[in-house]
């Protein structure tokens, strides 16, 4: 049950289409499915966002709680990203500890948030070495129809953008203040289908893919994280071209991540 089965004939069909510049759902190689972000979906969270890319739906909730800083970074807050690929979202997901590729999703998202310095962790410190804010980014996959990394990133950064530090509730400050988010990293994922490299793979395209490449960019023009996944390979020229495309899509998705709405 943990093994997803894809018919050879479907894989062949997807590759044949790609060779002719076509995709199963009629998109061009450089086109995302419809994207939307609904901010504040969960009021029990300190910040939340429901991101949809096509039929994929990912809900992220932020929780901010006081805790202890790590001994080696006494002046910095703690950021934890956790992705739950719950069995509700796909016939092949099973209850229990996260599988390696679920861990990959959360780590790739975590890296982009961390490397882009989306949050200045030193500002989360309350008393050096003693007390700091711990920021939990929990990502709940509701519907897995491909490209979880981009959807998780979109939901996570959007939820962070609208998170409120509950200072009053924990007796740390007089009033609750918005969490300071200084950068907006966005991940764009591509897969190789033969000679074609297409953006925002659908579930079937991921199954047929001969390599996956995720590029995270921020609004200042930096590449902040990358991840090559699945079996397959990319040339340096492939990667250079893909990075350019990631900046183009990243800028469009960033607007939705910050304000919500549809694309």
């Amino acid at each position: 049950m943990s093994e997803e089965i894809t018919a050879d004939i479907l894989t062949t069909h997807i590759l044949d289409l790609a060779a002719n510049g076509k995709r199963m759902d009629g998109r061009s190689a450089d086109q995302y499915r419809p994207v939307s972000v609904e901010i504040g979906f969960v009021t029990t969270a300190d910040g939340s966002a429901l991101a949809r890319i096509g039929d994929t739906a990912v809900l992220s909730g932020i929780k901010l709680e006081p805790g202890k800083p790590f001994p080696d970074t006494p002046n910095a807050g703690v950021l934890t990203t956790n992705a739950e690929l719950i069995p509700l979202s796909s016939p092949t997901f099973e209850p229990g500890p996260p599988q390696p590729w679920a861990i990959e999703v959360s780590r790739v998202v975590d890296r982009a948030i961390r490397a882009a310095e989306a949050i200045d962790l030193t500002k989360l410190c309350v008393t050096p070495g003693e007390k700091t804010w711990v920021c939990y980014v929990d990502v709940h996959v509701l519907d897995h129809s491909g490209n979880l990394i981009d959807a998780a990133m979109l939901a996570g950064i959007s939820a962070l953008h609208h998170a409120i530090l509950p200072s009053k509730r924990f007796g740390i400050g007089e009033a609750d203040t918005p969490l300071d988010v200084q950068h907006t990293p966005i991940e764009c994922t591509f897969v190789r289908l033969g000679d074609a490299i297409v953006v925002d793979p659908s579930f079937e395209e991921e199954r047929a893919a001969q390599g996956r490449l995720t590029v995270a960019t921020d609004e200042t023009g930096r590449v902040v994280a990358m991840q090559k996944g699945l079996v397959g390979a990319f040339s340096p020229d492939d990667i250079r071209a893909t990075v350019e495309r990631a900046f183009h899509h990243g800028d469009r998705l960033r607007a939705v991540a910050r304000k919500g709405g549809t694309l």
Binding site: F41, L59, G61, K63, P91, D138
Partner: protein, 250 residues
């Protein structure tokens, strides 16, 4: 209930019998049921009930996993009730806890009472309930969502299973407890009904009630379940009536 040792017990009932959120004693919180919102699941449903948000998905009948649970004469019904880390005020650590396991068990047993499991021997019908936002009554909201998801998945059943909690607040029996009433009230009695037979397939109780109060609470719960039942049927009709005219036209 949670009132022991609590700092401030809020006023839960006005002298006119109006509750903290403005409801009458026998009034449900606003309830919205959506059938089939998910794409990968065989059946799904979303329930927004007061400030609760719950998603349910059903897979099956399918191969049993783990295999040793397989039964030769019928399908087994497996349920996993889970709360998202951000669904409650204090972050819940992801993973199974004793409360979730108990709720999963009583919900699975409630559904086994209505599913025609003998039609699918050596298979499993898997029910997943995800609480996205919690505000008292999540097991009932989850059960309602899961019941609609089972119907959406086309699982043959004797009936849908509506559910509601009845409680006791400031000495009065009230329908559908909210969070303040759940925390500071005197009793909580969640129940699930099979409307066709008039019998209850889930019943739990915590707190204290007299025999008379319990009797009144049961009547109130059954009435509440009927209202929930109508919403569940309407959600399924909404989901499938859109397809019908097109078929008739063709």
């Amino acid at each position: 209930m949670g009132s022991v040792g609590a700092k401030d017990v809020p006023v839960l009932l006005s002298p006119e019998g109006i509750r903290v959120d403005g409801r009458r004693l026998d009034e449900l919180r606003p309830l919205r049921v959506v059938a089939g919102p998910l794409h990968r699941a065989d059946g799904s449903a979303f329930v927004e009930w007061g400030a609760n948000k719950v998603m349910a998905a059903v897979y099956g009948p399918r191969e049993v996993h783990p295999r040793h649970l397989q039964q030769n004469n019928k399908a087994i019904v497996q349920c996993k009730y889970n709360m998202a880390a951000f669904s409650v005020d204090e972050r819940k650590r992801p993973g199974l806890d004793r409360r979730s396991q108990e709720i999963s068990k009583v919900i699975a047993e409630a559904f086994e009472s209505v599913i025609f499991a003998e039609e699918y021997p050596r298979t499993s019908i898997d029910v997943y309930i995800e609480v996205l936002q919690a505000n008292a009554g999540t097991r009932c909201a989850g059960l309602v969502a899961a019941s609609v998801a089972l119907a959406d998945a086309g699982i043959p059943m004797a009936d849908l299973v509506p559910a509601v909690a009845v409680g006791k607040v400031a000495g009065e029996i009230v329908l559908d407890l909210n969070k303040a009433e759940d925390n500071f009230g005197e009793a909580d009695l969640p129940m699930a009904l099979v409307p066709q037979s008039g019998r209850l397939v889930l019943l739990q109780m915590e707190g204290h009630m007299t025999r008379e109060e319990l009797s009144h609470a049961l009547d109130m719960g059954v009435k509440g379940c009927q209202i929930v039942y109508d919403k569940m049927k309407a959600a399924l009709r909404d989901r499938y009536s859109a397809a019908r005219p097109a078929e008739v036209a063709a």
